[in-house]
């Protein structure tokens, strides 16, 4: 049980981390799912012994029910948050029209303010928007 499951958890963690660092939001979300699954497999591994389910009157060694309960709780929580994350990604697609993780505009603006020139800006529209100071909004538009 142990070595194969441990290797599976390690593989899930590895793939999940690699996917997390991708630019496409859907891949990021799948990566988070894999990370959660790796953690859950590790929780099952923590039980450390095989056995039957804990029923009244059943014979033989029992499996430890606590890590299974912990894993179930963790799965449910991860499921809920992943659903929220998907809705965020959909909203991002509605606003920007593509599936890419967005750049940190504010960070670039501060860098430019201090004279650290960024050569990588390829998106002309983004550059023009920054220069037009599009972040200024009136009090009516700001939903604070």
């Amino acid at each position: 049980m142990s070595v194969v499951l441990a290797a599976a958890a390690a593989a899930l963690f590895g793939y999940g981390t690699w996917l997390l660092l991708q630019r496409r939001l859907t891949r990021t979300i799948i990566g988070i799912g894999l990370l959660g699954h790796g953690a859950n497999v590790l929780l099952l591994l923590a039980a450390r012994r095989r056995g039957r389910a804990v029923f009244d009157g059943a014979p033989g060694p029992f499996a430890d029910p606590l890590p299974q309960a912990l894993a179930l709780t963790a799965i449910v929580i991860t499921f809920g948050v992943t659903a929220f994350l998907l809705s965020l990604a959909w909203r991002s697609f509605e606003l920007t029209g593509d599936d890419l993780a967005e750049d940190d505009v504010e960070d670039r603006r501060i860098a430019r303010l201090h004279g650290v020139v960024d050569e990588e800006i390829a998106d002309e529209e983004l550059l023009a928007a920054e220069q037009a100071d599009e972040t200024r909004v009136s009090i009516d538009e700001v939903e604070t």
Partner: protein, 496 residues
Amino acid sequence: MRVLIPLPIVLPLAGAGLSIALGRWRWVQRAIGLVVLTATSIISIVLLVQVDQNGGAAVQVGAWEAPAGITLVADRLATIMLAIASVMLLAVLVYAIGQGGSERTRVAFHPVYLVLAAGVSASFLTGDLFNLFVAFEMMLTASYVLITLGGRREQIRTGMTYVVISLVASALFLTALALLYAATGTVNLADLSVKMADLPSEVRVAFAVLLLLVFGIKAALFPLFFWLPDSYPTAPSPVTAVFAGLLTKVGIYAIIRTQLLLVPEVDRPAGLILLIAALTMAVGVLGAIAQDDIKRILSFHIVSQIGYMVMGLGLFTVAGIAGAVFYIIHHIVVKTTLFLVSGLVEHSAGTCGLARIGGIARRFPLVGWLFLLPALSLAGIPPFSGFIAKVGLVQAGIEGRAWAVVAVSIVVSVLTLFSMTKIWGGAFWGDPHVEVEADDPAVARWGGTVPMLGATIALVAISLAIAVFAGPLYELAERAAADLLDPAGYVEVVLR
């Protein structure tokens, strides 16, 4: 008294349910929120007084005996944090009601706010590490909703970053839990404290560092803090105020609790924690100096001040931890107030960028004072609470012979003052050139509606009271620190 312990968790959750059911009437939601949070504040202050007089108390949920069941433990540190957190949540709710915005237009604001309150209370009161995970998730999920409430483009971008980083932290927390259960066979904190003593020293050190990593992401330590200045400024102002005051402190609380309870003295990573503290302080304040927007400067300050609290912890003496606890109390109040003031500025002037506003102190003198007092306190100017807190930490550092960290903390304090004067000079001083378009007469005259100003004035009064009553409060912090450095007492309360 023990019947009071579950109430700070149960009341906000019940209130959240009612709030969703009666969501059509905003005044009902507001009434529920205010009543529930007032009750929680009163209960938590009563708990604090009782626990301080009689010692800690524990409740086994569902009457399942520890360590099999979930324990709720009210000791000094838990009740101190709970009391401050409840009062902050109430004040910010009053502010949010006064401001309108998302609070008025979205049905979800009040229920989710109450779930956040329940999650924060549960994190402080729980005595079970997996229950801490669940409480963290409750709090974090509510924060995901609050930080993206409004659905603007920048909110979605930073919301994604925040959610992804928090999920990674949660996966790491689960991994730590799995490994701890595999090593010891329990997740109850008191039982873990007993069973960790049987593990080999290297394993204990590894767990100490792993738990530091897990909670360090939430607490915004170096080098894990970069999500904080990215995501906090884009949320609505009362939401940012609650996050700044509370969420990082829950992470710090978890670090204090796990390092002191689970890891015996020989295996504590004191040097590593002090190094992280120094780097956090320095990088945070240097980031703050580079920014040009009030909220971003304040967000970087959160990171820098977290370094101070961790420095107090890293000394692992009664003086150090008492300094850290007092610093936490002071910082929760002052940081929340500063973000509420930045919300006042944004509400009246429309923006927080330093290049675009100016002379607010002349236009709205009240707002100017409401910024000045907490800002001086944060920078550590006597006679405010920040000065007392920093002196306490510096003294503890000198006693603990941690010269480098003390030197860094003093330099960082000067730089914090510098960045505060940058905000003051850029936004508040000079001739007013801010256009105020407001139909509410209170906003035009004073800079904010009555509930907004009232909540901020109340918080400033609390921070001044902390300075005035610093003697008894510091003694309370020392009693809490003495409790924390004696895990046997905690174990006795839970497993007796």
